[in-house]
Symmetry: C2
Subunit: 396 residues, 2 copies
Amino acid sequence: MEYILSERVKTLKPSAIREIFKYAADPTVVSLSAGNPAPEAFPVKAIAEISAKIFENEPIAALQYSVTEGYAPLRKAVAERMKSRYNIGTDNDDIIITSGAQQVMDLITKSTVNEGDTVICEAPSFIGSLNSFRSYNARLCGIPLESDGMNIEALENALKNEKNVRFIYIISNFQNPSGVTTSFEKRVKIYELAKKYNVMILEDDPYGELRIKGENVPPIKSLDKDGIVAYAGSFSKVLSPGMRLGYVIAPKEIVQKMVVCKQGEDVHTNAWAQLVAHRFMTEYDFEAHLEGLRDIYRKKVNFCTELLDKYLVPNKISYQPIDGGLFIWCKLPEGADMTDFCKQAVLRKVCVVPGNAFLTDEKEQCSSFRINFSTPTDEQLEKGIKILGELAKEVL
Amino acid sequence: MEYILSERVKTLKPSAIREIFKYAADPTVVSLSAGNPAPEAFPVKAIAEISAKIFENEPIAALQYSVTEGYAPLRKAVAERMKSRYNIGTDNDDIIITSGAQQVMDLITKSTVNEGDTVICEAPSFIGSLNSFRSYNARLCGIPLESDGMNIEALENALKNEKNVRFIYIISNFQNPSGVTTSFEKRVKIYELAKKYNVMILEDDPYGELRIKGENVPPIKSLDKDGIVAYAGSFSKVLSPGMRLGYVIAPKEIVQKMVVCKQGEDVHTNAWAQLVAHRFMTEYDFEAHLEGLRDIYRKKVNFCTELLDKYLVPNKISYQPIDGGLFIWCKLPEGADMTDFCKQAVLRKVCVVPGNAFLTDEKEQCSSFRINFSTPTDEQLEKGIKILGELAKEVL
């Protein structure tokens, strides 16, 4: 049989990162290409205790069908915490628990973007989100990212000239892949522009709690007096990604449609995971746990930065210092063949992610690549960065 | 702000069943409107044991990111069982683990149906699936369901006359809501017609293991020499719906695109649930567990049937006898106002689902309603059916 595929998936490809994982599966290869939280960051003991209690005292709550919007006590706990700590959420907003923050990208696109409509995003940006937008045949318009956020002039030009722009997608803290945190000044400007052009903002913030130095920058959502921002949060980096637990706080009118779409997608999010997250937030010291995570990642970032400074020759590979998150964005000299460099690195058993994977058009020129420091051990990290430095000296 | 919604969700409404749940939430109301497995059907002790072991011996496997296709040992266990027991799956097929079988409906529609393309389904059919198809702006074409499956003539007419038919959606065993099992003869005819008109079949089989009498009818997928059938299976009725665990066995070309779509939807299915299901299938006596479930439901069906025979006057409410599944389809006399009857029932504190909720066009005339016997207790079931019988005598 000749299979007929929908137009929206014909050009959709598996994530380039997933393809790279094929090499990374080789145990002799040092993988700096993942985005996994450090294994020591999982509160295994607490999760084991909570699970045991749930199956002893209220197994049916974890095993029976639940409601699409999410487990009410968890929705309440998250909404209250985000309100009190970050001033996120208004009376006009509602919250739903999703199957990872990835599902927020899917549901909001399904609810607000017709095929051919435009989504504005940072360039580079997270490939998983870009693929989610692409899977609804959205047109992607990338705005160059500077060290303090999007180029504002380019953003206004796009808002002025692009047709049917439905939302601006922005990872405001420790952006994946660039590590960039959008400054408060730019957050205000982006918010004002979105308001002026009557376009929503989708603020994706999976790494916000992983700040290892400096002051928190108020989320764009905290500025949202006009009901134009949808905020996507995640438990993947603060509890466990395997649980697939995220949430969205957004204007009720949008959330209502997202709920109907979620009903048709997976009915509701895994109930056990929702109960565990709720108990962990309310019966354990969640804030102390986050402090512990920041300690873990602070050590890792500092160690990684030392290695980069030790092994890389600056005029061969430069990198963008970070204040948090899981990734560091490395840049080859203008004109260097980045793709070839990444291939050579694989031959020497080090895996990184070529930067063009994160562009709206993968064929565009890009001289950067992404490394991750949370997944490898210290030994692996040192080995990998040393090899990258040697390779750069030889071939660049 | 005036929110702009996509065309595909503008007319999408929350499931009528979910609306009815509002009444059912009143503890004084007897709900015969749910579709929940019986609470005593969950293997709580085994799940508790397995979870404890996982968090002791391999917590990271349950908590870290996993692969989109699903946990490989679970994929293997399911594929092998379905092959050996039901002859499902060929060398041309692949399997992915999904977040409930509901996600299969979503992913296959996303992968194969352009907006405006047609999906053929049984009339009536499961509203959750219909809403999933609708959420991609599919045109639904309902084929009248007879006591042994779709009307074959109407099916061939539709295949001949409808444009861009992408697949035929069929719940082959103990259909929701009608309870109908498609006969082997009709399965063969439907397969041959699909082949003739070069259209795929989506066979949804969440209730197949819940047969309480008679012989299993071979799945349509077992006839699939031509690679035209996608088979959706579920753990919701045989393990736990709260886990959100399903799977699809389908031709590789389609599965590949579904995997890319799943990546953008939720990255992967909850890892803990996948590990638990795998251990339960391989380290416990899964077949004995299923036999136990059938015993539970056999008793419930028999009890419910006795009540229907005792309290309903046949020329007021008739019902379709069932060989398995969770639902019984009741019919009022031709011309009776079914919607009004269901409303009156709610006033007397019994909740059933009006049959038109399951039609491709809810405004069409329908004289049936659906009751569920797996969720209520014996006392609730008797109370509810007695009230329905009294109401029928009074108002019909």
